[in-house]
């Protein structure tokens, strides 16, 4: 449980971090809270030879309103996101989601940027970002670009980030006062979801039903056509390709997706 040896450099700004990424290439990884990366390094599933610490860049940790949207700095901790009055009133689903990541100690260190870049399909924040129609703002050598959640998560622990790019901000439309639903099915409280569902304003995203968060498009279409929660939820697993593991086989995951989607939709104000 000791990482392989590596060099450590501290970046003072996002631009500096991108430059360091460019210089070191595939050998380098960014370190923010380190609570996705360091656990992998400790069991030697990852062994970058250079770590670029971006966790102390003050300009990367913030919660603010920008152009009528919510903007969160990439190095903002889950704890901050979960307890921020701004996030809780403007995008409460996201605050709730961040408050369920791991346990309190993990939430004190883990960051929204780190979690999204890690792209664990069973994790909370990728699913939540997809449900709230969020985007990541990415900085690379040639400048900034924005990537929607649905395009950002491309596969199992795989994102649309180029090796020399980093997330600097997360953006999403605000939904104050809108009802929302969130279901995280676990064995123990601090486990990853066996299946997760996040629903708001006719959008439904699933966790751990495939290699990336899955939008339950058939369910969304049914809702748009006026279906109630139960009926729409029956289609929740249509787009999914759920994996089998010791917690669940595909059939059970599909069943859970249906049940949990129904419950999330009811919370989100859809009649049963």
């Amino acid at each position: 449980m000791i990482p392989s040896p590596f060099e450590y450099v501290s970046a003072g700004s996002a631009d500096e971090a991108v430059e360091l990424l460019r210089r070191h290439g595939d050998d380098a990884k960014l370190l923010a809270g380190g609570h996705s990366l360091l656990p992998m390094m400790k069991v030697r599933l990852a062994a970058p030879s250079v770590l670029i610490d971006v966790g102390s860049i003050p300009s990367l940790s913030y919660v603010r309103a920008v152009d009528g949207e919510l903007a969160i700095g990439a190095a903002t901790t889950h704890q901050t996101v979960a307890t921020s009055p701004e996030v809780r009133s403007q995008v409460p689903l996201l605050a709730w989601s961040a408050g369920l990541v791991g346990d309190p100690q993990v939430r004190h260190r883990g960051t929204i940027g780190g979690s999204l870049a890690h792209a664990d399909p069973a994790a909370d924040l990728p699913m939540a970002l997809s449900a709230v129609d969020g985007r990541v703002v990415v900085l690379g050598p040639s400048g900034q670009r924005e990537i929607s959640a649905d395009e950002f998560f491309v596969g199992y622990f795989e994102t649309a980030l180029a090796p020399d790019e980093m997330i600097v901000e997360v953006r999403m439309p605000v939904r104050p006062g809108r009802p929302w639903g969130y279901q995280k099915f676990t064995r123990r409280a601090n486990d990853w979801a066996i299946v997760g569902v996040a629903a708001v304003d006719g959008r439904v995203a699933l966790a751990n039903m495939g290699p990336a968060p899955v939008r339950a498009v058939s369910t969304e279409q049914a809702l748009a056509a006026g279906a109630g929660a139960t009926e729409a939820a029956r289609l929740a697993a249509e787009e999914s390709d759920p994996a089998e593991d010791m917690h669940a086989d595909a059939a059970y995951r599909r069943h859970l997706a249906q049940v949990l989607t129904k419950r999330a939709l009811i919370s989100a104000g859809v009649p049963a």
Binding site: M1, I2, P3, S4, P5, F6, E7, Y8, S10, L31, G34, H35, L38, P39, K42, V43, L51, D53, G55, S56, Q79, G102, D103, P104, Q105, V106, H108, R109, R188, A189, N190
Partner: protein, 159 residues
């Protein structure tokens, strides 16, 4: 590389290798061995300390990341003459420890929890300690200890 960390109020400078985990920095460099390593996957919390006043799992923090910051361990919690902190005293009073291996981490997690939520319900205590495992107590008396400490601390006006 060089790090500068304030440990239990005392600033120190050390030359370390970058991959040195904070928990091993505390144990081997500082000689503070109350924090224990109980797992490989950031699950068990036996290594919990306070970093700038908030609870963290020191097995998943590099000493390098703690440079320029302040760490508090269980050893730093008690008074100068060994007087127990109210959380430590509550754990004793309620028999919230048996073998003691999880205890320093459990105590520090509790201090962190009560700093954020001074009057937790039982459910909030259990959820607040979901990152700390214990095999001996069944958690029953740990919960009692935390609730008791919450009462003590609010009565004393402490945070």
């Amino acid at each position: 590389m060089r790090v500068e960390i304030t440990v239990n109020g005392s600033r120190q400078e050390d030359e370390i290798e970058p991959r040195l985990l904070l928990v091993h920095y505390l144990r081997e460099v500082c000689g503070l061995r109350a924090a224990n390593v109980g797992c490989d996957t950031t699950s068990c919390g036996a290594c919990t300390v306070l970093l700038d006043g908030t609870s963290v799992k020191s097995c998943t923090v590099l000493a390098a990341q703690a440079s320029g910051h302040a760490v508090t361990t269980a050893e730093g919690l008690s008074g100068p003459d060994g007087e127990l902190h109210p959380v430590q005293q509550a754990f004793r009073q309620e028999h919230g420890l048996q073998c003691g291996f999880c205890t320093p981490g459990m105590v520090m997690a509790t201090v962190g929890l009560l700093a954020e939520n001074p009057q937790p319900t039982e459910q909030e205590v259990r959820e607040g300690l979901e990152g700390n495992f214990c095999r001996c107590t069944g958690y029953h008396n740990i919960v009692r200890a935390v609730l008791s400490a919450a009462g003590e601390l609010s009565a004393a006006g402490d945070r």
